[in-house]
Amino acid sequence: MSVGFIGAGQLAFALARGFTAAGVLAAHKITASSPDTDLPTVSGLRKMGVNFTVSNKDTVKSSDVLFLAVKPPIIPFILEEVGPDIEARHIVVSCAAGVTISSIEKKLSTFCPTPKVIRCMTNTPVIVREGATVYATGTHADVEDGKLLEQLMASVGFCTEVEEDLIDAVTGLSGSGPAYAFTALDALADGGVKMGLPRRLAVRLGAQALLGAAKMLLESEQHPGQLKDHVCSPGGATIHALHFLESGGFRSLLINAVEASCIRTRELQHLADQEKISPAAIKKTLLDKVKLESPSLSVASASKVSLFTNRSKKN
């Protein structure tokens, strides 16, 4: 089986690294393409032994499973470009936040009557094989196609099938989740430093604490509330600290964050669906602007259409 990535950025790199480390795929069976050869991930992919090309069409031709690993607003243009090369054998896997299966099927149906489309939401820790992935199968994707993807993604972490309408919520939770964790870890390390620990040690200990806690929870039948109780001896240090967290509305902040990310994903999808820009007109300019990341969507403007995505994939 050969795998292709349209896009050679953080996601493609993370998945390629994960698959090869897991041994499910040899690097030479992976192709990645991007018009931008300056991305640092490009050299990373090359070093891994992945076939790199500037031609998206080449990637499609040499792949069975084709990952669309570009930012959401680019998806329509990619589909236009490679649509003619998509065959019934291809499994097209979109990892783009907020991009619906129906929008992809619609675009591809002009080229291929029964495109196999799977929508997937993963996250960056696939790079260390601790990803969290969900997928939903499209109209023409069979059970085996889903299982094939599941096998691939399970090699780099947790993977399960869901109904498509849950994917935005997953984006908010585990898609963006690593960013919440990094923020928390940074702050925890600051706390450690404040109380006298050297920075590197503080970071290491903080990360290990979260890793350990997560592992305990995953391996336990118990509710996180119970596990928390086990750490809190009466009148002890931990319960004092937790009181501070509660006073600061820690829990509600996290709920707010997941909600905001999910809502924003839906918003972006909604905006994308309304997009009225003629693909031919701005395609070349857009591809030139692949490197630019501006946080605002300007539907009217033909020159700047890059959207802010919920997973930060900055170089």
Binding site: H223, G225, Q226, H243, E246, S247, S252, E259
Partner: protein, 244 residues
């Protein structure tokens, strides 16, 4: 039904409250010494500032057969033992209001001369009023913050629940009764299933449903921290008052 009313003798300086006792079939008197002479188990239920005087009064009559149980807030076992004869079996108890409806929560501690027999007697007697547990004396002030005063927190919560319902259009009386029943039912489930409250909470929360939306509001209001603050404040106040 643990003790026949005729075996209970209560004393008070005036008749103000004694009618209620007589109605239950208890005997009453105005003489504290009489209570001590005629009883083995003596409950001290005065206000804190009255107690020292009462103890001085009954001290001569207290013997080694007596079991003295203090319900007086803020008066430590050390103080009680200081003001009573050295052989006295002393126990200190902190009840809460719902003892009145046999759904109380009580904790008690024993003094130096009180043994297993006395503790067992007290526990068996008081279990008729609700939950009764022996604890180290240091927990008694915490019990005040959690459950003594805690009853008031629940009343506040019940009132607020009902107000929310009234705002949404339900008549007040109905809302109040439903609020109370909700608290009763939830508490019963907690006590009977022995499950962790977080788990029971999760069980009620269907994905994207009404409960999780409401809980989010409670978290935004930092309800948990506020409740922790309340328990802490009451406990600290109990400690401070005990020192006076």
């Amino acid at each position: 039904g643990k003790v026949p009313a005729s075996n209970i003798l209560a004393s008070a300086p005036s008749d103000k409250n004694l009618d209620a006792w007589r109605e239950l079939g208890c005997r009453t008197t105005h003489c504290n010494l009489e209570v001590v002479h005629r009883s083995t188990l003596v409950f001290l239920a005065t206000k804190p500032h009255i107690l020292p005087g009462v103890l001085e009064e009954i001290r001569p009559a207290v013997g080694s057969h007596h079991i003295v149980v203090s319900l007086v807030a803020g008066v430590t076992i050390q103080t009680l033992q200081r003001l009573l004869p050295p052989w006295t079996k002393v126990l200190r108890i902190m009840p809460n209001l719902p003892c009145v409806v046999q759904a109380g929560a009580m904790v008690f501690s024993r003094g130096s001369n009180a043994g297993d027999e006395e503790a067992a007697l007290l526990k068996s007697l008081l279990s008729s009023c609700g939950l009764c547990e022996e604890v180290p004396e240091s927990y008694i002030d915490i019990h005040t913050g959690l459950s003594g005063s805690g009853v008031a927190y629940v009343y506040l919560f019940a009132e607020a629940l009902a107000e929310g319902a009234v705002k949404m259009g339900m008549p007040g009386a109905l809302a109040s009764r439903i609020a109370a029943q909700t608290l009763l039912g939830a508490a019963k489930m907690l006590l009977e299933t022995g499950e962790h409250p977080a788990k029971l909470r999760g069980d009620v929360c269907t994905p994207g449903g009404t409960t999780i939306y409401a809980l989010h509001q409670l978290e935004k209001g930092a309800l948990r921290a506020t409740v922790m603050d309340a328990v802490e404040a009451a406990t600290n106040r109990a400690c401070d008052m005990a020192k006076d």
